[in-house]
């Protein structure tokens, strides 16, 4: 499974998010490749799942991937719940 964590610039919050998402997926035995990207590059990158913040959702309109919105990138509980809601975990 290909997962993208996306923020505006591709190295700040998306990177922190990547580390958290990667750890949570691994802990729950989900096999996934997680990459962090800026929103411009993400638009033209294939993925099964995109994890991002609310203000960037519009920029990703039309992308084939499932989109999960996270409010607090440092909150592991929120990420875990969001992944469970979408039946990823």
């Amino acid at each position: 499974m290909n997962v993208l964590t996306v923020c505006g610039l591709g190295m700040g919050t998306s990177l922190i998010l990547k580390m958290n998402v990667e750890n949570i997926l691994k802990e729950n035995n989900v096999n996934a490749k997680v990459e962090h990207l800026d929103v411009s590059t993400a638009k033209s990158t294939n993925a099964d799942l995109i994890v991002t913040s609310n203000e960037l959702v519009k920029n990703l309109e039309g992308h084939k991937a499932q989109i999960i919105v996270i409010k607090n990138f440092f909150d592991k509980e929120e990420i875990l719940k969001a992944l469970k809601d979408k039946k990823i975990i």
Binding site: L9, M11, G12, T13, L15, I16, M19, H36, D38
Partner: protein, 438 residues
Amino acid sequence: MEILNSIIGSLAWIATNIFGEAFILVGIIVLLGLLLQQKPINVLVGGTIKAMIGFLIIGAGAGIIVSALLIFQPMWQEVFNLPQQDLGSFIGQDSFINKYGSIVTISMAGGFLINILLAKFTKFKYIYLTGHMMFWTTMIFAGIMVNTTPDIEGWKLILVLSIFMGIYWTLQPALVQPFLRKIMDGDSIALGHTSASVALLGALFGKILGNKEKDSEHIKLPEKLEFLRDSNIVTACTMGLLFLIGAVILSFKNTEGAKTLIAQAGNVSFYIYAVKQSFIFAGGITVVLLGVRMFIGEIVPAFNGIAEKLVKGARPALDCPVVFPYAPNAVILGFLGSFIGAIFWLLVLGNVAGYIFVPTMIVLFFHSATAGVFGNSTGGIRGAIIAGFITSTVVAIGQYLTVTFLITNTIPDTAMWAADSDMFILGPIIKLITQLIS
């Protein structure tokens, strides 16, 4: 004696080939971090290589930027009728590095060890990772020490430099962190760069003189102009204008220098050549940002590994481009401010002090870009531009004082293009320490 020589020889080799080659130092750090996290072999190899490549891409991008700046600089020097620099007699970089190169590199290794110890046992948990700045800063300080006391003993140089650099590399990131936290909205990375002084000054003056509400990244553009939101485009336009103005002025001059520069364009119109250089500059920045993304993507998680195992809670202190993506417009505004300041100080120092300031665009760009981001964080657009002007002031006056009084007989040639903000500010302290121990 033999054993001692071998040990010193090995240390010097390590220092030159590992610390001198920053990308290897980076690879080792990342590999160590991944090993400590017990990552599988494919991640070890992939992560280490990606970090090293990303780091080299940054250098490649910086090289592209510098190549364009090396056209920019002579162009504007010719515009202002600047003659060749006559500096009197001095040792020069070539000879200096032959005699003192090993001492410099051993001091770097010593400083790094002290940095690790301080990070482990004090509350200042920062590990300085900007290898090339470690090298240049130690070099310039060695130049100042030898200039102060020409027959100073090697062990004194190593002792003073190791301790001073170890403390500086630990404390400088700590001083900047309160401001950096807000810019990057996080606390996992620190700034390890000699632009720290002007970054702090930029943040300070931004608070006093700026307007935080007018954030440079909120510059609203009409829908049709949305393409300008791309920082690549803004950079190309700004630099294009500056290059073009310089080219136009040169084309009206009939000096030998102007003719030589114009001839560089070959068959192509000098105006086209100038615009091309400005786009190369913009391209260089894009490349730098790509490299930063790759490199940061590996080093932060890997560093977490080292930090967690060896020095609990330490942050990597990284090269200044780490802040550029957080306020790309502020980067350009800072540079604009320093460019204006550079021209101002060029004229003032020339007329008042009889010193021809060499406005090294390399230092001016990277330092004012960093200062611009900090200035914007406290003072918006105005803060960014003022931060740029402050940068050029520190660099201009610093260069004048350092070349004229601190490093005159050793490596003023290096100081003119490689010495920068923090080095200028701390230089006098180095001279004082040298006088005390001589």
